[in-house]
């Protein structure tokens, strides 16, 4: 043997290398010895015990599904969402002999009234050897199951289990608040695996169904059967049952009557309407139009319906009350008014001349009235008439951009309210720093003027505007808006968890300032722009109109943000109403009228039609049933 080519170091350490190789050999021998001994022990000494287990008995488990909780209105008497009996049809592919496959598929297609392609899609060839049951249809009625049961011999491998489906009662405009359920997707499962979700679960996909899924879903139970090796029940053995935990019922803060009233008052106009109790943050009504039917997402054709809604350019799946933001336009003047008074930026009684337009830089800014304009106006007059020239002048030259931004943020703009509904938008408050960063341009006086009348890049959700009014009503406090009133035990109805009011903002603006602002907002109804549209005698309303330019000719977003009764001493008795009608509708300046109808209906305990008649608005709206 010639070892001359071997590196010196390797050669020199040969002695210890031998030792190291011996260590490894010993390691291998030990593993072999230990494993062989253990295997022998398992198969001889303990072999009998395992043989018993293997040939006689084995345990199988069946899932007993829990029932999803129901959803009710604030009185716990009007149900919004219940469950209906329904069955899921399963097939164990390996139990279906290959030669019968096609004929069974064909018979199933007829019986279940579904295309045979759908069955083939559910059971692809790669599944043919599986012993797990695969769901073919999620919602078969009882009648189908009975006819299956009668001819079960013709359907080897077929079984069924109870799978109640969600039944959304006449919910109409509540669809966005309630949301809907669907089968868990692969991506969702990845995220939620550790919270006890499993494949095949039905979970909430939007709204309350999603937000409170954990409370609503309960926990599936299991029944363990002891069976012999062929799957037959062993009679003497009693099944151990791990009982299912029923999902909790959910009571919303929504008042069914007010919801229906607001729904009809908004009518078939794209936009939203919110009624909120400022003293607690409870949402009494939340409407977003257009809406959808959550029932259409279960049963056959669900996927098509969902695709159609997704493609609809009016975006019916969007909850416009929290998932859309718009320029608040003149409603923002309520915040400027607060700032001007609190900061003493400009004497309240000092007057500004509105000639109908004003020049700044090389641009002419037109007030919403044409020449000769509003004339001389003080702050109260400016707010009542929603005079742009007044706010342009005072906003730009006296209050200033920094303070405007700071007040907007005080009122909660640019920040999500944290309402218990998924997908809420934050809105946006533009600042000089932002403009510098985003466009590399300096903030100009014209930008401040735009912002002063709630235009430009300022964006708020209708809910944020409701919170703005809530802050004015509460002397500077905003309570977190919420739609959950309490969670209840499904069998006893006892309250398990309730939602106490939670402060999300408290400003240092003085009480007196808010008092003056409320007075001025009342003036908008008694003297100002909303004098004619808000004519209800049932309640003293205070509020602010807004008409936002969005670049469409002769079309504007129409806002009305209001509270009432103005004269109630206790804030607990007051409600805030915000109506937003998008510019995409045929123009009709509807928001103040809708608000008027909502207040009339609520405080005179009238239905929509009665309210319309009492207010003398019948000439504006044709008599109708439920709006579609």
């Amino acid at each position: 043997m010639n070892r001359s080519s071997i590196p010196e170091r390797f050669e020199s350490s040969r002695g210890s290398a031998e030792g190291r190789i011996r260590v490894l050999s010993f390691l291998c021998l030990s593993l072999f010895a230990i494993y062989s001994t253990y295997l022998l022990y398992m198969q001889t000494i303990r072999g009998g015990e395992y043989r018993n287990k293997a040939t006689k008995i084995s345990q199988q488990s069946n899932v007993i599904p829990s029932q999803r909780g129901e959803i009710y209105d604030r009185s716990y008497s009007v149900p919004f969402v219940l469950n209906t009996d329904s069955f899921a049809i399963d097939l164990v592919p390996a139990a279906l002999p290959a030669e019968m496959r096609e004929s069974v598929f064909a018979r199933l297609a007829t019986l279940l009234d579904m295309p045979i392609e759908d069955i083939r899609k559910r059971i692809p060839p790669t599944y043919y050897h599986l012993y797990q049951p695969i769901q073919i249809l999620g919602s078969a009625p009882y009648a189908t199951v009975t006819s299956l049961a009668e001819r079960i011999d013709e359907f080897p491998g077929i079984s069924w289990h109870s799978k109640p489906v969600r039944n959304y009662l006449e919910t109409g405009s509540l669809s966005h608040v309630l949301g809907y359920v669907g089968d868990i997707t692969k991506d969702e499962l990845k995220l939620m695996y550790n919270q006890g979700y499993k494949s095949g679960d039905v979970i909430g996909k939007a709204g309350i169904e999603k937000q409170y899924d954990m409370s609503l879903r309960g926990r599936d139970g299991r029944e363990f059967r002891t069976v012999d090796v062929k799957g037959k029940n062993i009679e003497s053995e009693q099944g151990i049952i791990d009982p299912p935990v029923m999902g909790s019922n959910i009571v919303l803060t929504i008042d069914d009557t007010i919801q229906k009233l607001a729904e009809k008052a908004l009518g078939s106009r794209m936009g939203s309407a919110i009624v909120i109790r400022p003293a607690t943050g409870e949402i009494l009504a939340m409407v977003s139009y257009p809406w959808y039917n959550p029932n259409s997402f279960s049963g056959a054709g669900a996927g098509d319906e969902y695709a159609r809604l997704l493609a609809d350019k009016n975006n019916p799946l969007l909850n416009r009350a929290v998932q859309s933001s718009y320029p608040p336009a003149s409603t923002f003047k309520a915040i400027l008014t607060t700032g001007i008074i609190e900061e003493k930026a400009f004497p309240q009684d000092k007057k500004v001349l509105c000639p109908g337009d004003m020049s700044y830089g090389d641009r002419v800014f037109n007030c919403w009235t044409k020449r000769p304009g509003h004339g001389w106006l003080d702050l109260k007059g400016g707010l009542e008439n929603s005079c742009d020239v007044y706010y342009w002048t005072v906003g730009r030259d006296f209050l200033g951009i920094e303070r405007i931004v700071s007040y907007a943020k005080d009122f909660g703009f640019g920040k999500a309210t944290g309402i218990d509904l998924p997908g809420e938008l934050e809105g946006f408050v533009p600042t000089p720093q932002w403009k510098e960063r985003r466009f590399h341009e300096k903030w100009l006086g014209g930008d401040t003027m735009n912002l002063s009348i709630g235009q430009g890049d300022l964006l708020v959700t209708p809910l944020q505007l409701a919170d703005m009014m809530a802050m004015i009503v509460n002397d500077g406090v905003i309570y977190q808006p919420h739609v959950l009133k309490d969670i209840r035990d499904p069998s006893t109805g006892a309250v398990v968890q309730s939602v106490p009011p939670k402060e999300i903002a408290r400003s240092r603006i003085s009480r007196e300032t808010f008092e003056t602002v409320r007075e001025d907002l009342r003036g908008v109804i008694t003297e100002g722009t909303a004098k004619f549209p808000v004519n209800t005698k049932a309640v003293q309303v205070a509020g602010k109109t807004g008409t936002a330019e969005v670049g469409l000719k002769d079309h504007w977003h129409s806002w009305f943000a209001a509270f009432g009764p103005y004269d109630a001493a206790d804030p607990k008795d007051k409600v805030v109403v915000v109506v937003m009608v998008e510019a995409s509708n045929p123009w009709e300046w509807w928001a103040p009228y809708a608000t008027n109808i909502i207040f009339q209906g609520m405080f005179a305990s009238q239905s929509y039609d009665q309210a319309v008649d009492t207010l003398g608005l019948r000439y504006l709206v044709p008599k109708q049933g439920r709006v579609e």
Partner: protein, 428 residues
């Protein structure tokens, strides 16, 4: 040419195909899977690969090993982002349609080749430096594979490294350190679940070893001790300062690595690691597989139930029977005779490897052999141990026997390397 190695490999492969055939039958004798046919295709093509590899002079691979290593690193990085997902691990390339391939299997071979090249070229360097570079070489694939959440495959790199470093004569203190750090990390990783499921009454002090801020404090404390004693060692040259620093570094790295493992591993993966301690804590979840496998093996007895006669497997109580739990079928149907035969064949393989370590012509060859030996040793120990319920469930296949093209090809290439090295041991 070492015919014992070739013979053992062929015998195991044939046994594997028979068992895969058996796993594809239902209790009614209906064929539900043609996996055995695919395995035959893999085996035949694997033998061709084996022949080619054994004919190539391994010395010539030395020059390419770095590029092979880089190439497979790039491939596993690619599957990390674009791969298919099978059983929660993302590591399959959609190659040849149904014949999906797991490139991380080849990464092991590529790493062995490159690490052997580095170790044989660096014999004049200081032991510590060789250790750090070697560790870096295995850490790159390990991290990428952990990101694919394929825990088991990532683990295999450590025994490969330990076997090679040991044979390369790296300072034993370092090798013991890494071994201890791996054991420490594993223990700390399963600690919270062990406390919760096995101990059941949580202690009120162990949480400092796994709860978020406390771990950082502990690591910081250990690092401080490390720094102080390192300073002491350099200033006073007292031996015991070295051992204090050694222990402190061990504690710090185990804590840090287990914190990383808690981040990277999903709960169910840690659960799989722990159920072997007591399968009954989760009898219908992670423990199910183990209980079924133990029952299958135990009920096989000495003579077995006979080929194609297994009840646990054919009534489908046994999960993943053609891949992870193939040994359970063999032990059920062929009894202790069959199980012992598998063990013996593996022992012959490992024994011949250690012979090759002695007779290999140069250090490069012996390092390759050591790496392959470490790989076979670990796969066998974990998979057979898992089937018998004494090792955690990690999804590592049993070479030659488990269904799967990549692992069969990889081991065929490895055997080809062994045969090539054996054939050239007397070359001048």
């Amino acid at each position: 040419m070492d015919f014992a190695i070739l013979g053992a490999a062929l015998a195991l492969t044939v046994l594997g195909i028979l068992s895969i055939y058996s796993s594809g039958l239902t209790a009614e004798g209906v064929h539900v899977s043609n996996e055995y046919l695919k395995q035959i295709v893999w085996a035949v093509s694997g033998l061709v690969l084996l022949a080619i590899v054994s004919l190539v002079d391994y010395q010539r691979m030395k020059d390419y090993s770095f590029f092979i290593y880089l190439f497979f690193l790039a491939v596993i990085l690619y599957v990390r982002f674009f791969g298919h997902e099978v059983n929660g691990a993302k590591s399959w390339i959609g190659l040849f349609g149904e014949f999906g391939i797991q490139p991380s299997e080849f990464m092991k071979i590529a790493t062995i080749l490159f690490l052997a090249q580095y170790l044989s070229n660096s014999e004049h360097l200081a032991s510590f430096r060789r250790l750090l570079v070697s560790f870096a070489i295995i850490l790159a694939p390990v991290l990428i594979i952990i990101l694919q959440s394929d825990m088991g495959t990532a683990l295999v790199f450590f025994p490969i490294f330990l076997f090679m470093a040991f044979i390369a004569g790296l300072d034993r203190r370092y090798i013991v350190f890494i071994l201890a750090a791996i054991i420490g990390t594993s223990a700390l990783t399963i600690l919270p679940l062990w406390e919760q499921y096995i101990l059941k009454t949580p202690t009120n002090f162990l949480f400092i070893l796994y709860k978020a801020p406390y771990v950082a404090y502990m690591v910081a404390a250990a690092a401080l001790i490390l720094l102080l004693s390192a300073w002491g060692w350099f200033s006073f040259k007292k031996k015991y300062y070295f051992w204090i620093a050694y222990a402190a570094l061990l504690v710090a790295s185990s804590l840090a690595a287990s914190a990383f493992a808690h981040k990277a591993l999903k709960d169910y993966q840690i659960m799989r690691l722990i159920v072997f301690l007591d399968p009954s804590i989760d009898p219908r979840g992670s423990g199910w597989n183990i209980l079924q496998s133990i029952t299958a093996i135990g009920s096989g007895g000495v003579l077995g139930k006979g080929f194609l006669q297994g009840t646990q497997s054919h009534y489908r109580y046994l999960p993943q029977q053609s891949t992870d739990f193939i040994f359970s079928i063999i032990a059920e149907e062929w009894g202790f005779i069959g199980g012992f035969a598998v063990f013996a064949l593996y022992y012959i393989l490992l024994r011949r490897c250690s012979n090759l370590l002695k007779t290999a012509k140069d250090s490069y060859a012996s390092y390759i052999v050591a790496g392959i030996m470490g790989m076979i040793f670990f796969h066998f120990m974990i998979n057979a141990g898992m089937a018998m319920g004494i090792m955690p469930v990690t999804g590592i296949p049993l070479f030659f026997l488990s269904y799967g093209g990549a692992s069969l090809w990889a081991i065929m290439i490895a055997v080809g390397l062994l045969l090539g090295i054996s054939a050239r041991r007397f070359r001048t």
